[in-house]
Amino acid sequence: MKIRHKITLWITGTGVLVSLVFSLIIFLEMKELPYKSIDTGLEVIGQILGRLAIAGKIPSSGRLAGSFSVDVNQYWIKIYDSHMKIIYQTQLARHVTLPMRNNRRAYTVIKSMPENGTGLGEEGNKVAFRVRTVYLQKQGSGYIIQIAKPLGQLQDEVTDLLQSIALGLLVTTLLLIFLGYGVAGRILKPIGVINRMARDISNRTLDRRIPMGKSRDELYELSGSLNRMFDRLQYSFDMQKQFIADASHELKSPITLLMLFMEGAIHRKDLPDSFQQRLIHQTNILRRMSRLVKNLLDLSALELKRTISFAQISLPGLLKSVLEDYADVFAAKRINLTLNIPEDLEVRGDKEELQRVFINLVDNAIKYSHTDGDIRIRAARVGHDIRVSLYNTGRGIPKADLERVFDQFYRVEKSRSLQYGGSGLGLTIVKRIVELHGGTVEMESEPGAWTQITITLPVPAESYQKQ
């Protein structure tokens, strides 16, 4: 779950809880409120009826006379004398039995309607009654007036109240979710920015840092911590690269020394043949080591490089100069070379480095292509890029290895190093140079059939402004 959603949930949860408690208090307060007037009404009517009963003027008709114009048939009324004999009851009281509680306070009773004729709906219809018992004592005789009112209307009011509260809660919840989501987004926005920045800092752009905000808050601290981490990371990266550079450099003198000695020894006439053969073999191993050190140094120099010198270079010119050096090799291996490069295609970059890229690629293509094979070199502008692809027939590379061919010292088959030479750094160097130019390299292959490597270099900005 995203933190934004969590924060939203927390805000909404606490908000809803507070609203709920608030609503509950309001509800409990409001619930008793409507009964007060009814209770008072019941009391008053009870008192009046009581007095009438005492005076022996129990109304025969449904209406109470006098200043009260109340239809008694709307009420459930029973009047008992001191012997608990019913001396008066309304129509409603005949049909419905309500329990009598020895209680001065009003209470609510819910009854099922026994039969039709109560005027309160169908049989079985549940009706709430507010019941009140009034005790009257006059001239030695006591009366008990039990008076009740069906509460149809009032129950509705309570339901209304509940509905309002529910609606209010719903609206509040929706509002809280909406606001919570917004607030969470607002809180998290700087984190998103920091995250994006941190993500964009790759091992190629380790010199970049997260900009520090103005307010010295927790996010400022976070940015600071991240930047300090990047400092340490960059330091150790640079240290490592510098170490490789220094180590390769230090290796050069002893290798030179050994080469001088070994080659001198090979030329000696006083050594047994078998020993000389071994010396030749060792010298070749030493030569490979020397090559490896050279490539390591090249690569570390490239790794430490952050920018390159750019110049406008004719791509067909560059490729042709490289291919010229291989002309005899193509002929000797009877390789069929196809070139498809527009004459006016130009790239922007470091000429020496790009030349190295193509030397490495052509070298690879020749190395891994069979005699009588095909090598096709194509270049074209595709949108804002220049795409150069080298295709060669040959044994190809298994799919699983395609991703790793650019890794340092990676070889598709370990045994290939002996057969084909090379240091295992050629493609790593190619990739690094292309990346320094802001481009990408891609390798495709059909095992047993062909291999194709494609370089994409961005077109210099001014050349498409020209068009």
């Binding site: 003198s253 002893p254 001088l260 090979i266 090249d298 120099a301 000797a332 030397i359 050629g426």
Partner: protein, 227 residues
């Protein structure tokens, strides 16, 4: 021929001294820039082999002061590889050639001979073996004074073998020399034989007992005619 070798690595300095002594050169050595400058101004050398990275005074500074002191002795710089800046600076300061470390013995010898020849008194730019001669200045090859058409690679192979006359040169060294440092000599050395074959055909050289001889397991050699 007197050569001054300047390098701060004692073992390498010793090995270089031995290598050149075997070739009957007179060798003097210096381990730092200060010593080098002292010796350069006190002696007349035919060639100076100068490492760029030196204690006290660095190689470029030594070169600069040498040239400022109007000493025109040819200088072969030993450079750190991959630093184009060093290369350019060296040539700007008046170095005659440069060789990146680590280098082959044959390559070093060829460069040294080439430099010595270029500045030698009689200005002999002609390298010869039997009836074949190669002019290093005009880049021409003659067979019994008849000019021949050679591809640049073939010329380069012949020239390198002639500079290392009477010494075997390995396929790898030859490949590295002909195609340069950027190329993988393991790829190229496979094709050296093809070039040698073409070269032999052009200069009318038989496979056996000819000018260019194949030495099994090592490479090739051009020797002075024995008869």
């Amino acid at each position: 021929m007197k050569i001054l070798i300047v390098d701060d690595e004692p073992d390498l300095l010793e090995e270089l001294r031995e290598t050149f002594k075997q070739q009957r050169y007179e060798v003097d050595t210096a381990a730092d820039g200060e010593e080098a400058l002292d010796k350069v101004f006190d002696n007349a050398y035919d060639l100076i082999i100068l490492d760029i990275m030196l204690p006290k005074i660095d190689g470029l500074e030594v070169l600069k002061e040498t040239r400022d002191g109007d000493i025109k002795t040819p200088v072969l710089m030993l450079t750190a590889r991959g630093s184009v800046e060093d290369k350019i600076a060296g040539l700007d300061y008046g170095a005659d050639d440069y060789l990146p470390k680590p280098f082959d013995r044959s390559e070093l010898m060829a460069r040294v001979r080439s430099l010595l020849r270029r500045t030698s008194e009689h200005k002999d730019t002609l390298l010869t073996v039997g009836d074949v001669s190669l002019d290093t200045k005009t880049r021409e090859v003659f067979k019994r004074d008849v000019p021949m058409e050679l591809t640049p690679k073939e010329f380069s192979i012949l020239e390198f073998l002639l500079y290392n006359k009477n010494r075997a040169v390995s396929r790898f060294t030859l490949a590295e020399h002909v195609w340069g440092d950027e190329f993988d000599p393991f790829t190229m050395s496979n094709f050296i034989d093809v070039h040698i074959k073409n070269l032999r055909r052009k200069i009318g050289d038989p496979e056996t007992k000819g000018i260019i001889r194949t030495i099994r397991g090592i490479g090739f050699i051009i020797e002075d005619a024995q008869e």
